[in-house]
Subunit: 331 residues, 2 copies
């Protein structure tokens, strides 16, 4: 399969899952203090990941948690953030300027910061209170933190069973999703590699996935135009510009908001003949109970888009690493 290193993928997922004991030591030590709220801090793609984990926590938890955009926080502030706030960040380079500034500001307000920083020799690695260095799997890392907080708050009885299944089956399951998705992904890339605009729709923990896929992958890496919209708001405006030939893709997960996206899927055939569905339910995940699938469905759809990316990049002769402006210009 083109651009697919099975061993690397398996090792990366399992390596991320193996961070759990390190994560739990941090979360458990914070849990002994008085926690007022939990702030998932991000910008761009990491903000999208923050939105995903907030939906996950809203489903299950009474803990007060929210997503915060770093640049917006730096100018507007947030009086909810202070002593007793646990902040979680993720950064590949460890240098994202808005995050660096926000961490400083949050520290001044009295918050404590857990940082997943891929690059250990970086300003963010130095500045966070609790550092974990590991490459990739940002969303999974976030979920492990959230799940441990909810476990401590007696809101996740099946925590041990869930992670046992992930450790035994997740990596292999995701590899199989990529294999199963490859044919669809090639057809999708062949059909949509030159779309003038493509609409991506999703909800629940798929919304962060969709927001990030439109912006960080399609726009930033493939230089293709997208509009992303939640399944809820799709029916309050965006639907009006969908016609027979408009390219639309609905991401459907298996969490609490599945029905919102199914509504879009069921409506689309009446007005559009150029739509696609990426539904996590279409992909097996052997060894993982159906009751847990909602919590990992964003990883399943991401495995599907990994394959789209591989083919899209090849068809368009557009290496995903190149940027026109980002980190090429000062602004």
């Amino acid at each position: 399969m083109y651009k697919f290193n099975e061993k690397e993928k398996r090792d990366n997922v399992n390596g991320a899952l193996a961070l759990r004991s390190q994560i739990n030591r941090i979360v458990d030590s914070l849990w002994k203090k008085e926690i007022k709220n939990i702030c998932w801090l991000g910008i761009g793609g990491t903000y999208a990941s923050a939105l995903q984990v907030v939906v996950h926590m809203k489903e299950m938890s009474e803990l007060n948690c929210f997503a915060e955009n770093a640049a917006e926080f730096n100018v507007t502030g947030n009086k909810q953030i202070g002593k007793g706030t646990v902040v979680i960040i993720s950064s590949v380079t460890g240098t994202t300027q808005e995050i660096v500034e926000a961490v400083n500001n949050m520290h001044k307000a009295g918050a404590e910061v857990i940082g997943f920083i891929d690059e250990k020799n970086s300003v963010l690695a130095e500045n966070v209170d609790y550092l974990i260095c590991y490459k990739g799997q940002e969303q999974l890392k976030f979920y492990m933190v959230a799940d441990r907080f909810m476990y401590n708050n007696k809101e996740f009885d099946l925590y041990d069973q869930f992670y046992k299944q992930l450790e035994e089956h997740l990596a292999e399951g995701l590899i199989n999703v990529e294999k199963q998705a490859d044919k669809f992904a090639l057809e999708f890339a062949e059909k949509h590699h030159d779309d003038p605009i493509h609409y991506y729709v999703g909800s629940g923990n798929q919304w962060g996935e969709v927001y990030s896929y439109g912006m960080c992958y399609m726009e930033e890496m493939h230089w293709l135009r997208t509009k992303t919209i939640t399944s809820a708001d799709f029916f309050h405006g965006t639907l009006e510009i969908i016609e027979r030939d408009t390219p639309v893709t609905v991401f459907i997960g298996e969490d609490s908001q599945r029905a919102l996206s199914e509504r879009v899927k069921n409506f689309l055939p009446r007005i559009c003949a150029n739509y696609s569905v990426i539904d996590s339910k279409d992909y097996a995940m052997e060894g993982i109970d159906s009751k847990f699938r909602g919590m990992i469905s964003f990883m399943i759809t991401h495995a599907v888009t990994n394959r789209i990316d591989a083919h899209m990049e090849k068809i368009n002769c557009h290496p995903m690493e190149i940027r026109r402006y980002y980190r090429c210009l000062d602004y």
Copy 2:
């Protein structure tokens, strides 16, 4: 001036401001109870208005407040909502199905609901705990509620002065903005009435404005394609697909997030020759202190887009009332 009824506009703004005593009686009576948090509930355009008022409160207040999307709440829930939650909604028809269901669910959880319902013979008018019936000015109504809560919480010392100025000058000021903007708006409409896609960027209380303008006006009423993006996230993906001829419009307000949008404005000329700026600062607002302009800048830019809409509708021979699908089909 085409499609411009000065008297109607003046009366509508002043009529909305005159709701304040009614609003204050409600807020003050709720204030005597124990308020846990404030939930701005919406969907589509009303969700956008909710986002605006949340930014406004974040700037000034320690009160715990958040925006909630009705459809998402109906399936995911929100364990923060219960006894002690004050919910605020707005609906023109009083029949928006997701809001009807969410209000029922929030009531079951123990929350109390203030409703701005334009149509008094409607299911929502019957179902809310505190009803105010008045046509239009949704955002201003929301701000009056927020401001009264913050006044009661001793976070808005200049409340009386601010509203005195609004009552004396806002209506006239907004009328003058429309007059001043008309030439720009005509040129904008002539240039952009057939754009294949137009990017709208904004932040702070302009973000709800931008989100709503792209979705509820351009997509829903003009059937024109848009992508909307926050000024913060613009630099984390979307910038890559902006080129010389890409139509981009930046909305700039005068609140705490002005600098984020100025950064976009300052960057654009280097990569784009087809951008526009709608900056509230370019419009006089006689009688209103500069320190208050941030709180009303979304009304100033909305007055500008009113004029764009008028000309766009005429040029495109596309009446803004018509819908292809919304409330025309069952879904």
